[in-house]
Symmetry: D2
Subunit: 327 residues, 4 copies
Amino acid sequence: MSKQLRFSANVNTFNACADRYVLSGYGQRLTTEELITAATRVKGLTGLEVVGFWHVNDDNVLQVNRRIRDAGFQVTCVTPDIWASARWGKGSFASNDPQVRRAAVQEVKKSMEWARQMDCKVVDLWFGQDGYDYPLQADYLAAWDRLIEGTIECAEHLPEVNLVIEYKPKEPRTHCFIGTVGKTLLLLEKVNKANVGAMIDVGHSLMAYEVAAESAAMLQHFGNKLFYMHFNDNWRLWDDDMTVGMVHTVEMLELLYWLDRINYEGWYALDIFPYREDGVCAATESIRWIQGLHDLLDKIGRERIAEVIANGDAMGASALVREAFLG
Amino acid sequence: MSKQLRFSANVNTFNACADRYVLSGYGQRLTTEELITAATRVKGLTGLEVVGFWHVNDDNVLQVNRRIRDAGFQVTCVTPDIWASARWGKGSFASNDPQVRRAAVQEVKKSMEWARQMDCKVVDLWFGQDGYDYPLQADYLAAWDRLIEGTIECAEHLPEVNLVIEYKPKEPRTHCFIGTVGKTLLLLEKVNKANVGAMIDVGHSLMAYEVAAESAAMLQHFGNKLFYMHFNDNWRLWDDDMTVGMVHTVEMLELLYWLDRINYEGWYALDIFPYREDGVCAATESIRWIQGLHDLLDKIGRERIAEVIANGDAMGASALVREAFLG
Amino acid sequence: MSKQLRFSANVNTFNACADRYVLSGYGQRLTTEELITAATRVKGLTGLEVVGFWHVNDDNVLQVNRRIRDAGFQVTCVTPDIWASARWGKGSFASNDPQVRRAAVQEVKKSMEWARQMDCKVVDLWFGQDGYDYPLQADYLAAWDRLIEGTIECAEHLPEVNLVIEYKPKEPRTHCFIGTVGKTLLLLEKVNKANVGAMIDVGHSLMAYEVAAESAAMLQHFGNKLFYMHFNDNWRLWDDDMTVGMVHTVEMLELLYWLDRINYEGWYALDIFPYREDGVCAATESIRWIQGLHDLLDKIGRERIAEVIANGDAMGASALVREAFLG
Amino acid sequence: MSKQLRFSANVNTFNACADRYVLSGYGQRLTTEELITAATRVKGLTGLEVVGFWHVNDDNVLQVNRRIRDAGFQVTCVTPDIWASARWGKGSFASNDPQVRRAAVQEVKKSMEWARQMDCKVVDLWFGQDGYDYPLQADYLAAWDRLIEGTIECAEHLPEVNLVIEYKPKEPRTHCFIGTVGKTLLLLEKVNKANVGAMIDVGHSLMAYEVAAESAAMLQHFGNKLFYMHFNDNWRLWDDDMTVGMVHTVEMLELLYWLDRINYEGWYALDIFPYREDGVCAATESIRWIQGLHDLLDKIGRERIAEVIANGDAMGASALVREAFLG
């Protein structure tokens, strides 16, 4: 019998998505209350992610949490906003400005506290603005030292809340310091805290020419460090944040296989930007793809998959997938 | 003696740049008046581009033009806004909705009229929203027919104003219909109007794995269709809209060489997004790189360049550039 | 009822594949006779491609043809070798050396004659060596003129044999002149001969960030110029020449849909390099994927697909594919 | 005064280069003796790399070494051949076949011994065949365990010889296990031997969307692990193995700056494939670019560079480089 997957989504999934051309967004802007209501229309969704200060703050955290619970969801992740205003434009934890670094660490600590108050185990550390745009612009070594130092400080702040490093090769900087699974594992080694692990955002992994299944396996193999997953799809060269299934179908199947094989126990969270699609429909479609592909693994038989892998048998793998998809 | 290059820039160069994370922009928002004033601080800049409805409309067009002239600039290009609001989210000229197509054509015609009123010869047709995001989403043939038809209609509206097709492989759609120099030349053949040509945005060309010099040469060779140029730089995989010079230095030199060789007579316009840089400084730096590289061509000697090209002599070309840069 | 697809493969599919590291090949080198015998083991295969001089020459052409016929195959394409020896290293039709250009044109004419003798309608013009590696190396305009001129000369040589332009963005040169579907259509316009069309190699199209379905539709829309198809798959950034199905599954489905919709009547030929796989198994697996995906189109219903396309309904398309694959 | 850089090159630089199309090579095949003679014609070259079994074996190692010394060179690196024959096609250290793994380890040990006999400190571990081509083909965890285990065994064999991990994202496999600087640092942590470090091949780093300067800085920062450097250039998407300077000019300048700043003391070795160029000319040109860019650092002033970096001042960096190149 198939394992029951637990699905989450960022509440912004249901909001108007904007890009650098359509700054006002492609759809309608909703309140947090309306976003939660929209989420209830997604079958199978039982978790929600929120962003610090956007959706929760010291004043409303308990109330928002109650509202989310009442609507039938758990809060699965709080993401501190250390990347969405001009203040962080030249970096957060790795900024050259010690005051900005301090402020960024404070933001994260606040989000950790809000997470604890909402009974949420995961705070997402995405260093989106920590990087560089031009050659001869960055002090790579100072940056790494600062990222390690800030992460340690946050980790020690609340050991019962997990920090998950979300790596991404680029955007909004042309190069981000923590851009690949390998760099993430290096950071985790240097930070060396039980409550600091990683998430894989599938699209970020694709951008880095990684196979997400491999990255997931590595994170578990070297310290059981895969704490969380963000699902989406793209055309491999940019973080298109598409719904799951239509571009990298077989790689998604492989990822789901490996998540079970390495005993991943975390949430299956969506991180999609349905710019021109209805958010409820996009989330529903993504969940159906993931659950459907996951169910297919049992139909194929995990031992048969294990066997082709053990033999490095590419054509055997092809036949298994083909028969499963096409009969 | 070096040819005097004529430099232009979009007035937005001097405004706060935003991306999908920092929607409010990395800097300060200025009025059109303030943008023009900022432009006067860029040495060597004698042209400005404006966006239809953002900066000019039926009511203010003469007044804005006078202000621009008084500040010492010509208007070199008007870009109709057929891509910056939700209305155009699923396409403009190629939209499935005939009313949207009609509205988009109207926008372009209005910009053509404003251009004429401002004594500006160039209107930029960038079909940014005309494309698709997912497999099995687009009717490719209907899209092309509509793009051709709409462009012809606009071309006939005011034959004395030139329309320039600005191709780009992706963004904001994951795939844009008019994405490469080859597709652009095809469109030009099908439209077949004297007042419809193309521009090359160097960054878009890099994204398409083109060498911009080759694309420029082709546009001139097949009908003298290179009407305009947008300069910027990027890391080849995305439209980073960086200042000129620091990434693709030699390719820029080659482009400047070919622009002269093919008798390009148009403007050297900047299309940069200096998110975290001062706009005046970024524009100044770009102009100095372009002019400096252009001056270098005379120092190297155009006959010597022509000779290595005629021989396909890569190492000869390398030596010429090396000696010019490094002495 | 499903249309019966006609499958072909290059006879080299069954030979040892080599790369620049393993020059002696990953498997066993076979004679042409042995290659044909191997091909008979691939169920559903009824066509074979051969390479001029490698497999056929003036002396053996009739004998090879008889052998191929006797084994149950048609010759579907002859590819002139204008790219596999040092002689062509700096170009064939576009070489700076008029003698090399002449020799290349002669090679193509010979292959056209062999094709006619074998009752084969298609000769593949792949200008792999016609391009450049470095900035400031190529005379882009001379190259285009030469490519057009040489192609016209060949086309006129035997009007009853079709020449198909096979575009590819790079390899073996870092840049090839005829690299995209747009440039191919431009070349076809300039050549303007009834017996000159194009093929799409799916992998080349993926490398160019094209969606092959779109490229196919364009080639038919602008002159019924899609004469042939090469099937394979890759990871989008290089011509990995993999078997069909495991990476770009849905894009392949879309391509098969559009090939029917545009009335493509040509062969479904494999162009794969099964370096580490058994060639018979790799070809069989590819054919099963293509036929299986094609059959699925009927199961889904082509009217339902047409409807989601007409509406630009990405989530509708997603649901159709998902239900077809996952039930 | 400028630091004197020590330049090396693989002896194959001077041999005919082959690719998968031109298997016999674009030039003339030379003997080892002739290759060494060719190398003497490259001004500034004082080191040579050899490949185990290709150029040295148990019988000829002392004689080849003497010949190389007599010609005025040091042997700077021995590369074991664990990737250039069908035997290694499905992997070397990470092969599923224990006998292949054993054989690969033996090859490396032999190369280490030859290195010692030739007074060479560096043996290059490039796991080119250790990877996978298709989804659902690889056992990622077994692979990593085997790579770690084999590397440890080799490291212990001769502690006075340094092993340098040469990472590369792909080719000849579509995915290689040790593909990025981050994964390399992880491997080094797990191997944890004083005589195991890394090299950066600039082109491999570019393919991985790394900035080589950053990768170099990281390798030194986390354990002084940058033991060797391979120089070349490419168009960022493939290992084109071009001469230095013409594509990523400023990134090369930045790399040279950081190599000094992190006290890199190793060789500046060329790893180029001058398919269509004369090898002596290609090597000479590369050395002149590297030395010329390095000299420029002093002209610019390293303190001025350090200052723009400390400030993250991209436009300041741009101005420094521009003035240095263009006056």
